[in-house]
């Protein structure tokens, strides 16, 4: 099949960007979306043009490195799929696709479709951990975790940190990302001692970056490649309220 791509091209974070239109021919349904872009890049280089920069690594949907908007939808709009796993069989001959980077103040564009997501690391630094220095930890079986808590922790921990939630949110909020880590750690017995400090510190770090706030659009859940539910934002807010009241009450 043949496709028309309108791709955001931007030299670096200081330059202005623009859309450039390319034709890609000979795309087959068994290719992945990124393999289609590989093909475009091989052609561009053959013509002496700079290839389109896009981030990717594992190409199996787990490293969280890839991601851009396809026709305005983060990761292309196939539920539970990152762009690296998106198959070309979902597209048809003659399709016209617009590709652009995550759009959020907190994620400055670095080049073409690549953005800077280091704000996520800084949110984790603020409290996204359980302090357990390497050493003689308690025997693993001494800590019992009810299966439903373990399952919820795992549902939340599945977040790959790709940033689609931020890109999809009209407010560019990082609430789903932050809530996922808080829900993971706060659901486990090991996470209880730091529970409320963690929650308020991570929320403060999130607000300190240029992310917006949640106004319940639910776009984040819709595009999340790991199907992380918006319910976790509610859990985070509940813990935040507790943390705030607790602090005020002394």
């Amino acid at each position: 099949m043949n496709l028309t791509l309108k791709v955001w091209r931007q030299q670096d974070n200081k330059s202005a960007g623009k859309f450039v239109t390319y034709q890609v021919q000979g795309v087959t349904p068994d290719m992945s979306f990124l393999e289609m872009l590989d093909l475009l890049n091989e052609n561009l280089q053959a013509q002496g043009e700079a290839p389109v920069a896009f981030e990717h690594d594992c190409r199996e949907g787990i490293c969280g490195m890839c991601g851009f908007l396809i026709n305005g939808v983060a990761h292309g709009g196939h539920r539970g799929t990152t762009v690296c796993q998106l198959s070309m069989r979902f597209f048809k001959d003659g399709d016209s696709l617009t590709l652009e980077p995550w759009r959020a103040k907190a994620f400055p564009v670095l080049r073409d479709l690549a953005v800077d997501r280091s704000a996520f690391d800084r949110i984790i630094q603020a409290g996204g951990f359980i302090t357990a220095p390497t050493g003689v930890a308690p025997e693993a079986r001494a800590i019992l975790v009810p299966k439903e808590d373990a399952d919820r922790a795992m549902d939340a921990a599945a977040c790959i940190g790709c940033g689609a939630c931020v890109a999809a949110c009209p407010n560019a909020a990082a609430m789903l990302f932050t809530a996922a880590k808080i829900t993971h750690l706060n659901s486990l017995p090991q996470g209880q001692p730091q529970r409320y400090q963690r929650t308020s510190d991570m929320v403060a770090a999130m607000s300190g970056e240029l992310f917006g706030s949640c106004t319940n659009h639910g776009e984040c859940e819709a595009v999340c490649p790991k199907k992380i539910p918006i319910e976790f934002i509610g859990r985070m807010n509940r813990d935040l309220i507790h943390a705030t009241l607790h602090r005020r009450g002394g």
């Binding site: 590989d38 280089q45 290839p51 990717h56 490293c63 069989r89 690391d121 795992m154």
Partner: protein, 636 residues
């Protein structure tokens, strides 16, 4: 010349004895010592976090945008530990035995025993960090079985165990970043190491956003940069995985151990198109419940459901009745290749075998199968468009892991003093074949529990004069790195870097893949240098070195693969025996199993770089087996 530094005494006491004999660094003095850690996967992140906690001044580098992206994240199935929670006969000694046997007797007994001992601490440590391992209804940790063993000792977090263990280490690392003990350098690629007075004292890196070439000085350099499976172009590795860090260190004097020992994983989604850029693994855990088969008749194109039981060959169960579908990876891969070579393969091109869950679904119900493997079935459907609850999966072997790597002693130090190597980047524990769920175990053992002892010991035992990056040794390496980049950009030929990488990958896959012959290897030893020659004369890179330039990044990595590939073939040619993943067609039993030659090859190959254009020199570290009886490996 090769001193493995294995402590004396009974094997059970070696590590304890070594730990006691190791020198310590006073807590107040630790922050005066700088440790550079390259790589932020399980080994790198866990080492950086642990050394940061102890108070060292740690600099950690990764080429990705965040340490959380490292390819450890993609490990699916699990992590082994000799906890014996199941009361099914497991023990440290059995994990040790299984690993030495699984590695086809080409690993060091002392290292493997230590690994088995540490395995139990790893699970405790990870649970304390909040890694959400799978639990039973009573709240206890769940385990499952993996290939090559008959106990259930694999701990897991759905099909995302690597992700969860890595995030645990990453979070511990970020906590140290917040305290200031670790400085994280993301989007920084190490392009060379700096040796001063015979010791590793720093690295030269390229900032991947600006192209700036920078140097950093330290007392110790750790490489935890993963394996080199991408030399095959198509593999289950992430696209960025590369050999550059260890290869550059090799060229500076670090011996390369067993380069030909590569693992071909039996359960991957088959290649479907010419533009394919990577292969996707289906976790080995699937072989717990899936049954592998092909039609008995050649050219049987009926849909699988219409092929009656009597006309199916469950070849693993037939050939290996005691281990069945859970034979080790090398055995399962070779068996798949054999049936496909015999014309019995299924799917387009006949390069595939069925992995069938129909029996498991009948026995346990679809919901239980979904609970155990749901995300893997989803992944399979995303890629192939097929529903594996209804039709069997099609799988084929693919390059997955490299047991070879930089040679290290018992303390994980390479032949360059002060250069330590951890995780997949070293050659140490898996011999000629790694068992499933052992990579995560080794990466974390190295990072959490071995380097935090051996690095302080090195610092405390050696006079480390002050160095800084203004010294001429640093400037000289920077100059070399700059020249090499300028040379790559200056070629201005006609071919893209990917086209060279694909061509190299095909050569290595065909002649140094699942089956290797002297003729094929000699062919490669002629063709690879020719391809390298063409690469350096006909490569075309668009753009400059002073910007984000992904083609330039790839070019540097492919240039190193083009050298490594030659050494792999040389090593494979030299080793005239079959062992584990290294199958020389000239050396097999009458029924087609790998035939070792212990009299001639019971050693670790450690190759020394002798300079551009000169032949490598082979050093041999003899392997002795006192606790596991050397025997023909049998899974029948």
């Amino acid at each position: 010349m090769l001193e493995s530094n294995i402590p004396s005494g009974p094997i059970e006491e070696k590590w304890e004895r070594a730990r006691f004999e190791m020198k310590l660094v006073n807590p107040a003095n630790r922050r005066k010592h700088t440790v550079i850690i390259v790589g932020s996967g399980l080994a790198g992140a866990s080492a950086a976090a642990s050394l940061g906690q102890q108070g060292y001044n740690v600099h950690c580098f990764c080429f990705q945008d965040s340490p959380r992206r490292a390819h450890s994240i993609a490990a699916q199935g699990g992590i082994n530990a000799a906890k014996n929670y199941r009361n099914d006969g497991d023990s440290i000694h059995r994990l040790f035995y299984d690993t030495v046997k699984g590695g086809d007797f080409r690993s060091r007994e002392a290292n493997v025993f230590r690994l088995a001992q540490i395995s139990v601490n790893i699970i405790d440590q990870c649970v304390a960090q909040g890694v959400p391992f799978a639990r039973e209804y009573g709240g206890l940790l769940d385990t499952r079985s993996f290939g090559g063993v008959q106990v259930s000792r694999t701990f897991y977090a759905r099909g995302q165990t690597g992700q969860q263990l890595l995030l645990g280490a990453y979070q511990a690392l970020e906590e140290q970043v917040a305290t200031g003990s670790v400085k994280m350098h993301t989007r920084s690629e190490m392009l060379d190491i700096v040796v001063v007075n015979g010791r590793a004292r720093g690295v030269v890196t390229r900032d991947l956003l600006t192209g700036a070439i920078e140097s950093f000085a330290a007392d110790v350099v750790v490489l935890a940069t993963g394996g080199y499976g991408n030399v095959f172009y198509l593999s289950t590795n992430a696209k960025g995985c590369n050999t550059t860090a260890i290869w550059r260190a090799h060229r500076r004097g670090a011996f390369f151990g067993n380069p030909c020992f590569t693992q071909i994983h039996p359960t991957c989604i088959p290649v479907s198109n010419e533009n394919q850029s990577k292969l996707t693994l289906m976790s080995e855990s699937l072989r717990n419940d899936g049954r592998v088969w092909v039609p008995k008749k050649k050219g049987d194109t009926r849909p699988p459901a219409q092929i009656p039981e009597a006309e199916r060959d469950y070849y693993l169960e037939r050939r290996y009745p005691s281990f069945g579908n859970l034979v080790p990876r090398d055995v399962a891969s070779r068996a798949a290749k054999e049936v496909c070579d015999a014309g019995l393969g299924v799917g387009p091109g006949g390069q595939g075998v069925y992995l069938d869950f129909a029996d498991a679904i009948r026995r346990m119900g679809e919901s239980v199968v979904r609970e155990k493997y749901g995300n893997l079935f989803d992944m399979y459907e995303e890629i192939t468009g097929e529903n594996a609850y209804k039709v069997p999966m099609r799988i084929y072997p693919a390059v997955h892991y490299t047991m070879g790597g930089l040679w290290v002693d018992y303390r994980l130090m390479s032949t360059i003093p002060g250069l330590f190597v951890a995780g997949e980047a070293n050659f140490s524990d898996h011999g000629a074949n790694r068992l499933g769920a052992s990579a995560l175990m080794q990466g974390l053992a190295d990072g959490y529990f071995i380097l935090p002892y051996t690095i302080p010991n090195y610092i405390a035992s050696n006079p480390l004069e002050k160095v800084d990056t203004s010294q001429p040794e640093f400037a000289a390496v920077k100059e070399e790195v700059n020249k090499r980049i300028a040379r790559l950009i200056g070629i201005q030929g006609k071919r893209t870097v990917d086209s060279f990488h694909k061509e190299l990958g095909k050569l290595v896959w065909e002649n140094c893949g699942m089956a290797r012959s002297a003729d094929g290897l000699r062919t490669n030893l002629e063709k690879i240098p020719m391809l390298r020659e063409e690469f350096w004369n006909n490569l075309r890179i668009i753009g400059t070195g002073a910007e984000l330039n992904q083609s330039l990044e790839k070019a540097g990595r492919v240039a190193d693969f083009l050298e490594l590939a030659e050494l792999m073939c040389l090593d494979a040619l030299e080793r005239e025996e079959s062992c584990g993943g290294h199958f020389r067609v000239e050396s097999q039993t009458p029924d087609g199993e790998a035939l070792r030659d212990d009299d001639r090859f019971s050693f670790v190959s450690a190759w020394e770089w002798k300079g551009e254009g000169d032949q490598w020199e082979l050093h041999r570290e003899p392997l002795t087996f006192e606790h596991v009886h050397l025997a023909q490996r049998s899974y029948k």
